[in-house]
């Protein structure tokens, strides 16, 4: 449809500009705010561009707080979740698409259903489980919980990718006498690599966003992941904006890099009936 020709180009570009500003304006404001000294935060009227650009908030964040520890914890949990979920879901998806046994469809449908369950429903029994297993306040416990939340969708997504790979290659290799595992690792997984990447990105975004389990499972300050760590800078008495703003910007950077790198294929993959939320 071509309303560009219809309405005036100026009006069209104005509409686009409004949408773009609405989307990124707040983010740019956060970035600009983080680059000014604490004194300038509370200027009335606010200065649009900082009078003096400074990285002092970032320096203080790294020097005065446990932020690096929060980041490391998050990275650790992300890697642990990605490693387990990708491996297990790849095997499962291969099994679901290349073998015939009863209960296959039930398992697939259950995966989708499990993905849509509210996290707040699972957090009660999983918390009890973690306490009994001695995994509360341990990053391993958090990884297990994140696997529970990620794995169903990973299976669902990997299965879709495996289904799109023609089986003829494998049959040829099979005839040539290659074993199952060799076929899987030498033929199927390389072809399903886009799926593995999508799954990895999905888990990364998930862990980078997750707040509820991190809040409930972790109690000691040094074990926190950054979502809870950053939010703890909002205290009853004071809000440490200098840490909050700089920290929020820093944790956004990896997310944005991954978004830029994978944007095209993500949009394609999700457009084809993919889901995430």
């Amino acid at each position: 449809m071509n309303f560009k020709k219809n309405i005036s180009p100026i009006c069209f570009y104005l509409c686009v500009l409004v949408f773009v500003l609405y989307s990124v304006g707040p983010i740019i404001w956060m970035l600009l705010s983080s680059l000014r000294s604490k004194v300038e935060f509370f200027n009335i009227p606010p200065t649009i561009f900082p009078k003096q650009f400074t990285f002092i908030n970032y320096i203080l964040l790294f020097r005065e707080t446990n932020f690096i520890q929060f980041l490391l914890n998050s990275v650790y949990v992300t890697i642990g979740t990605i490693f387990t979920s990708v491996l297990v879901s790849t095997l499962a998806a291969y099994s679901l698409t290349r073998f015939n046994y009863r209960g296959r469809n039930l398992f697939t449908i259950f995966s989708l259903f499990a993905y849509m369950l509210p996290a707040v429903l699972l957090v009660i029994p999983l918390y009890l489980f973690a306490v009994k297993a001695g995994l509360a306040n341990k990053l391993t416990g958090l990884i297990l919980a994140y696997i529970a939340l990620c794995l169903p969708y990973c299976i669902w997504m990997m299965r879709a990718f495996f289904r799109s790979i023609p089986i003829e290659f494998e049959e040829a290799a099979f005839v040539d006498g290659a074993g199952r595992l060799r076929i899987l690792f030498n033929i199927v997984i390389p072809m399903a690599l886009p799926g593995v990447i999508s799954t990895t990105v999905f888990i990364f975004i998930f862990v980078w966003n997750e707040y509820l389990f991190a809040l409930i499972f972790m109690s000691s300050d040094l074990k926190l992941t950054f979502p809870v760590g950053l939010n703890n800078f909002v205290t009853q008495f004071d809000t440490y904006w200098e840490y909050i703003l700089s920290g929020s910007v820093i944790v956004s950077i990896p997310a944005l890099i991954i978004f830029l790198l994978t944007q095209k294929s993500l949009i394609k993959g999700w457009g084809g009936g993919g889901i995430k939320g």
Binding site: M1, P26, I27, P118, R180, I205, N209, S252, A255
Partner: protein
Amino acid sequence: MLQKKDNIMGFCFLFPALILLSLLIIYPLINAAYLSFRSQLIYELKGHFIGLANYIETLQDKEFWNALSLSIIWTVASVIAQVLLGVSAALLLNEDFKWRTLARALVLLPFFMPTISVTLMWRWLLNENYGIFNYILMQLNIINNPISWLAESRFAFFSLICIGIWRFSPFVIINILARLQTIPLELYEAAEIDGASKWSQFRYITLPEIKGVLLVVILLRGIFMFKKVDMFLILTGGGPGNSTQTLPVLIYKSAFKAMRLGKGAADAMVTLLIITIFIILYMRITGKSQEEVG
């Protein structure tokens, strides 16, 4: 040929996933159901059976009905707005223009920022005294005095809905845009020749084409918005009063603030019942197309 053989081996490949899902989802679900019939405080390792008492309490509780209606308003309002905004943006971004790739990427940004960053960012923007938002509104003479957007019960829920719309509209844009790109241009050219107006082109070509995807997107967004809890916990904690206490927030508070795991589990089971209806609806609708496509 390959498919029929060695099914035992196939099952071995599935085994790790089966174990993990049973241990981490099926068992917890059963456990939650079991808990909902018990009275168990968070620091107790064992509770005791109290039958339906939790459920009766939940259904007689004004807070529960308040939470349910807030959940419905939150879901319906934010999904409608996300769809309207998302579809309009997708239509704009589907046009051919200079800087289109950049504009597309920028419009999708809110969806890809970490939750904690954007929620704390909005806390900063909406700050009563130093927030840019109040400042702009006052400059434009829309308001006379700064408003405490997140701490006043008149505004807190509304603010959260607006933040939710801002963050999640890109999901609609992504999906609609992908679908728009597959509509053959010839359809519009033919309509153009027949002298059809822009509106009737949208009404009779675009809308029927995107209808399927739109329905799926609406259901998905509905499910995801309904279960949203992090934004609430970070920004208002369900308050002030219980003006932003949706069902997931209520569950969290019953279980971890009031420390009554049993009551929280009962609240959760009722919520599960509601959301399952929509999940089944979603599966019914997509089930057919999934079979065809993949």
